[in-house]
């Protein structure tokens, strides 16, 4: 059973070079340390210093006037998504022994990574109060 993310067995590097597993091992620790602060501050802002019922569209609009929060959210989105999906990749390696199924699951994880990262990034980067691009898009599809 390969539990490399969890145990302190750092994956070996070939001739001092960087392998994907070694990169993954360091990435989990660096992103993890950043996420301790990013995720907990996010929870405190959204659930303690504000109540969830206050986190409305106008709340987001006011908040996103400051580019700091867009950068913050983009960092939180990217690190959390890739940290989480890389964790899922390791879990799949641990439990899915059949090569074909392992490839299928890991392809699925890769597709989720790309689709959700692009979707989340579009919202964080392009959000503009007053414009409703998805309403416009679906309106175009269904009310010709």
């Amino acid at each position: 059973m390969r539990t490399s993310i969890y145990t302190s067995t750092r994956p070996a590097s070939t001739k001092g070079g960087m392998t994907f597993e070694l990169f993954s091992w360091y990435f989990m620790r660096i992103s993890g340390l950043a996420l301790v602060f990013l995720a907990i501050i996010h929870l405190v802002v959204m659930h303690v210093s504000n109540d969830v019922s206050q986190t409305s569209y106008d709340f987001v609009a006011t908040r996103y006037q400051n580019p700091f929060w867009r950068v913050y959210d983009l960092l939180l989105l990217s690190l959390a998504l890739f940290h989480g999906l890389n964790g899922l990749r390791v879990i799949i390696d641990d439990y899915v022994r059949n090569q074909a199924w392992r490839l299928a699951w890991q392809t699925f994880v890769a597709v989720i990574a790309v689709v959700f990262w692009i979707t989340g990034t579009i919202t964080v980067v392009t959000f503009h109060p007053g414009s409703a691009p998805l309403s416009a898009f679906f309106g175009m599809l269904f009310h010709r």
């Binding site: 059973m1 539990t3 969890y6 302190s8 750092r10 620790r29 993890g32 340390l33 996420l35 301790v36 995720a39 907990i40 929870l43 405190v44 659930h47 303690v48 109540d51 969830v52 019922s53 986190t55 409305s56 569209y57 106008d58 987001v60 989105l77 959390a80 998504l81 989480g84 999906l85 964790g87 899922l88 879990i91 989720i112 959700f116 979707t119 989340g120 919202t123 959000f127 109060p129 409703a132 691009p133 998805l134 309403s135």
Partner: protein
């Protein structure tokens, strides 16, 4: 594995909370995408997060994030601090204590509107 000892439980909890947080994150990316439908649709949809039941789900998320964060720091201490392995058991007790303290402190604020009889403007519809 370290069957039945603290090392097994800390490891298992780390995995379970990790998967739970990932699932929530995927849902959260979808609900944030609703911003693209404008204020009316977004505000109506997001009221579900203020209902008492989803507030309870938020408590589980908060507990998961706190445990996974603090235990992650414990793992890094085991990896990089030479004395880390020796104190891993004591560190885990510290992780559980910090998780509990943080959970009670934050959970109080999450559930406060429910304690106050759920005023409609705070608990959705």
């Amino acid at each position: 594995m370290y069957r039945g000892q603290s090392g097994m439980w800390s490891w298992l909890l780390h995995r379970v909370t990790g998967v739970a947080i990932l699932l929530f994150l995927l849902v959260h990316i979808v609900d944030i995408t609703i911003l693209g439908f404008g204020p009316t649709v977004y505000n109506n949809a997001l009221q579900v997060f203020a209902t008492p039941f989803v507030r309870l789900v938020s408590l589980a998320l908060i507990a998961s994030v706190l445990y996974h964060s603090f235990n992650g720091v414990r793992i890094m201490l085991i990896d990089f601090w030479p004395q880390g392995v020796k104190y891993q058991g004591a560190l885990w007790v510290g992780v559980l204590a910090l998780t509990l303290i943080g959970f009670v402190a934050m959970g109080y604020f999450v559930m406060l509107p429910v304690f106050q009889g759920c005023p409609p403007h705070q608990c959705g519809n």
